[in-house]
């Protein structure tokens, strides 16, 4: 039993029993390309981002990948890890590479720039198309709006506001795969936070922008976005809110 005692995920410090190297397949190239294999030494508490960084610094400096904060704040290091979109900085190797193998690709549903870098332009362009910009009703000369933190709208916005735009939901959404015009979970989630912002003056325009067959009504409520969101948000819930709000607008209830 002694040599089986190394429990995956336990952060035993110091030199434990030497572990076999990780076998890492990394996507190389653009839309056309192939996997390249690397052997990376395993470390305690090693993250997938550590693995990618090791490859670039020690094995192949031409590898392209994207990261900034390393601690789950910036949302730039998301990739497809063993088939699922994840933040690589907050994904421990022990958690996802049970058999000692990792397969890394850029995020799906987006064009590939090179290697592990996907082109996020259409993802963010869709935030703009979903009217994700705040449209103030008042100017800075007027007094502050008073928003009751316990109000229903404030609580709805709070539940959705923490999105950092990593693109994990967008890359995981089957509707995006099937309908390239679909605005996607993140953009619609953003729109929902603004629908619940009483200071915003573009409610009707926003609902008209999102209540289309490429917007909230395209969502099939499969909840992959909600399952995989690293911030534990529920874009599905936000999209359901947009559906109800669009119905209220249709029935003459106005855009609140």
């Amino acid at each position: 039993m002694g040599d089986r005692a190394a429990v995956p995920g336990s952060s035993t410090t110091g030199a434990g029993p030497a572990r076999a190297n990780l076998r890492v397949s990394v996507w190389r190239g653009g839309a056309a390309g192939d996997y390249q294999s690397f052997e990376v030494p395993r470390q305690p508490s090693q993250t997938v981002l550590d693995v990618v960084t090791y490859i670039q610094r020690e094995l192949d400096p031409t590898l392209a990948y994207r990261f900034a904060c390393r601690v789950g704040m910036c949302g730039s290091c998301a990739m497809t890890v063993n088939g699922k979109a994840r933040w690589t900085c907050r994904t421990h190797v022990d958690k996802v590479a049970a058999d000692g193998a990792l397969e890394l690709r850029p995020l799906a549903n987006l064009p590939v720039v090179r290697d592990l870098v996907s082109d996020m332009r259409e993802f963010f362009d869709k935030w703009a198309r979903a009217r994700g910009q705040f449209a103030p009703k008042t100017t800075r000369e007027q007094p502050f709006a008073r928003i009751d933190p316990r109000s229903r709208q404030r609580r709805e916005a709070d539940a959705a506001i923490e999105c950092i735009g990593c693109g994990v939901c967008y890359a995981s959404c089957d509707v995006v795969t099937w309908n390239r015009d679909y605005l996607g979970p993140a953009a619609l989630n953003r729109a929902w936070t603004l629908v619940n912002d009483p200071r915003d003056g573009a409610q009707r325009q926003r609902l008209e922008a999102v209540a289309t067959d490429a917007g909230c009504h395209a969502c099939h409520t499969m909840m992959t976005c909600t399952e995989l969101c690293p911030k534990n948000l529920s874009p599905t819930r936000s999209i359901a809110g947009l559906k109800r709000a669009s119905l209220r607008l249709l029935l003459g209830g106005g855009g609140e």
Binding site: E208, A209, A211, T212, D213, H217, K243, L250
Partner: protein, 113 residues
Amino acid sequence: MIARRETLLWAVQRATAVVLAFCVLVHLATIIYAVRTGLSASAILGRTQGSFAWGAFYGVFVIAVAVHAALGMRVIAAEWLRMKGPVAEIFAAGFAVLLAAMGLRAVMAVVAA
């Protein structure tokens, strides 16, 4: 306005789902009752023929099915069969007409006196 139209279609699909949930329960209960009490085909026809209530119930059921399923097929046609906008709409409308025609024909067959 595309938003109004899509929202309306979504609402119609939701509303027909509610109708279907009710109709399916009644339909299942009817089947179970007919089977367990051993009603013969002629006994069943004796109750349905000339019955406005059964005709209305199954007429509503069929229309709800035709509308609900066609709205679903419209999306499947666009997303999986890769039909472009108007083609998917025509395909879905044709599917609705087909379902409604077949269903109403069956209703007529058991209700017509």
